[in-house]
């Protein structure tokens, strides 16, 4: 496909690999976190780590919405579907996230709950329009990329006068999660997660722009390079990070100029600001309670807020015993450090959330990286 294939070209990749190899300084480590699961997936799938010099280490970040969704929230969605009799619509990735019990939305469906996988929020709206006797709830998750489509759906439901449609909102914010990582004891004090820079989000940044990351460059003196999700984009971003580190710079640079501008998508930001407001705090799997890190539906759209309509409360639930998803999401551990990895926890039968989505660090490593010796050697 145009604008995809060109950014996966092997010859250009080798050229970029040579450039990185030529510019890294021997005797020092370069530790970069790719925030997004999309980057984690690209790095694993295309063997980018194998093209990097030994002293460039990629740390997987928490930017996988399915992975950071806490069990308690999935429990609430399952309860809505199983016990409150609603038609629960959600994206495909969410269907297999393990909840308590050991239930998933998929298993709840097998038990008779009306759970439907949708491609778009517009599909959920169509279901609500077509089946006015059903109470339809859209289980919304995702970062800033996925938030504007939910906002549009809520506004459209209002315009259509729908009374049987609501949204269970779990949208989360990227900058808050980056702050949380930079403030974590592992990075700030203990130093078990050395961080020299970030590969910044691709599609999140098409919406929010490159400006929100300037704070991290200035306040924490960490370079950020926004990169597209194709392997050449990631490699070019790594080269740009290596150059910043070598030159002692900490700036926000943009590799993904074909879709990201400093200000982002003003129209999308405006509709999000109209419909949503900040939550004081939100629990993330792995990161715990993170202040001002998620969105809820504004009072003016209360009729479309499933939490208000069904009185959904929140109960925190611990991860499965032995599961290292939390430490993996913070960059403290790698998938192969988890005892469950590849034994009882596999993509076919995941125990932890990082094994569910293809963007999850464990799923990506299981699918593409397990047998690559180089990646394993660099662990630790």
């Amino acid at each position: 496909m145009k604008y995809i294939d060109e950014f996966r070209d092997g010859k250009l990749a080798r050229g970029l690999a040579q450039a990185i190899r030529a510019e890294v300084k021997p005797g020092r480590w370069y530790n970069f976190m790719e925030f997004c699961g999309g980057h984690t997936h690209a790095i694993s799938r295309y063997g980018v780590e194998g093209l990097l010099p030994e002293n460039v280490r990629m740390i997987h970040g928490p930017g996988c919405p399915v992975c950071v969704l806490p069990i308690g929230r999935v429990d609430s969605a399952i309860e809505l579907a199983l016990e409150r009799g609603v038609t629960l619509c959600t994206y495909g990735d969410v269907m297999r996230v393990p909840a308590s019990g050991p239930l998933t939305l998929m298993k709840a469906k097998a038990r008779g709950a009306d759970v439907r996988m949708v491609y778009s929020t517009l599909d959920a709206l169509r279901i609500a329009q077509g089946e006015p006797q059903r109470e339809v709830v859209f289980f919304a998750i995702g970062f800033e990329t996925t938030t504007p489509p939910t906002a549009v759906a809520i506004k459209q439901a209002q315009a259509l006068g729908l009374t049987n449609f609501s949204v269970f909102c779990n949208h989360v914010l990227t900058p808050a999660a980056i702050s949380n990582i930079l403030e974590s004891p592992e990075v700030r004090k203990i130093g078990t997660v050395p961080l020299d820079g970030f590969v910044g989000p691709a599609h999140v940044s098409t919406v929010i722009g490159s400006q929100p990351y300037e704070f991290f460059a200035e306040e924490y003196e960490k370079p950020v390079v926004i990169a597209g999700f194709e392997p050449l984009d990631v490699m070019q971003a790594i080269l740009m990070l290596v150059r910043q580190v070598n030159e002692g710079r900490a700036e926000v640079e943009n590799e993904f100029t074909r879709a990201v501008t400093p200000e982002g998508n003003e129209k999308a930001k405006a509709v999000v600001a109209e419909v949503f407001e900040l939550r004081r705090s939100f629990e993330w799997r792995g990161l715990g309670e993170v202040p001002y890190s998620a969105l809820r539906i504004k009072e003016t759209f209360r009729n479309f807020d499933a939490e208000a309509r069904f009185g959904i409360g929140y109960r925190s639930v611990a991860d499965a015993k032995g599961c290292e998803c939390g430490a993996i999401l913070r960059g403290v551990k790698r998938p192969e450090d988890c005892k469950l990895f590849g034994t009882v926890c596999t993509p076919e039968d995941p125990i932890g959330s990082c094994m569910v989505s293809s963007e999850g660090a464990c799923a990506a490593h299981y699918t593409y990286g397990r047998f690559r010796g180089g990646a394993a050697r660099r662990t630790g």
Partner: protein
């Protein structure tokens, strides 16, 4: 979850909708989140919505930059070995 693909707008439809071509597959998507998109433009498509117009000039410039960087990089023994194994 944040995955999105570049698709080309084939036809503008009523109600902020458009018909797009995704590698030969035609699909109706929403243009509610973008402005100034016309037939022939490429947009970044995510969960049924165009999120941003793709700047074709910038894409071209980025690819040219990749090629220049590769040409300028010194060839090393390590990368020669890589070429030998990767084909």
């Amino acid at each position: 979850m944040c995955l999105a693909i570049p698709v080309q707008v084939v036809e503008l439809l009523p109600g902020d909708q458009a018909l797009v071509d995704a590698g030969g597959v035609r699909k109706e998507v929403s243009l509610a989140l973008v402005e100034g998109v016309g037939v022939g433009d490429y947009v970044i498509l995510h969960v049924g919505y165009a999120l941003h117009k793709l700047d074709e000039q910038e894409a071209k410039r980025t690819l040219e930059l990749f090629a220049q960087i590769g040409e300028a990089a010194p060839s090393t023994a390590g990368s020669e070995a890589l070429r030998a194994t990767n084909g």
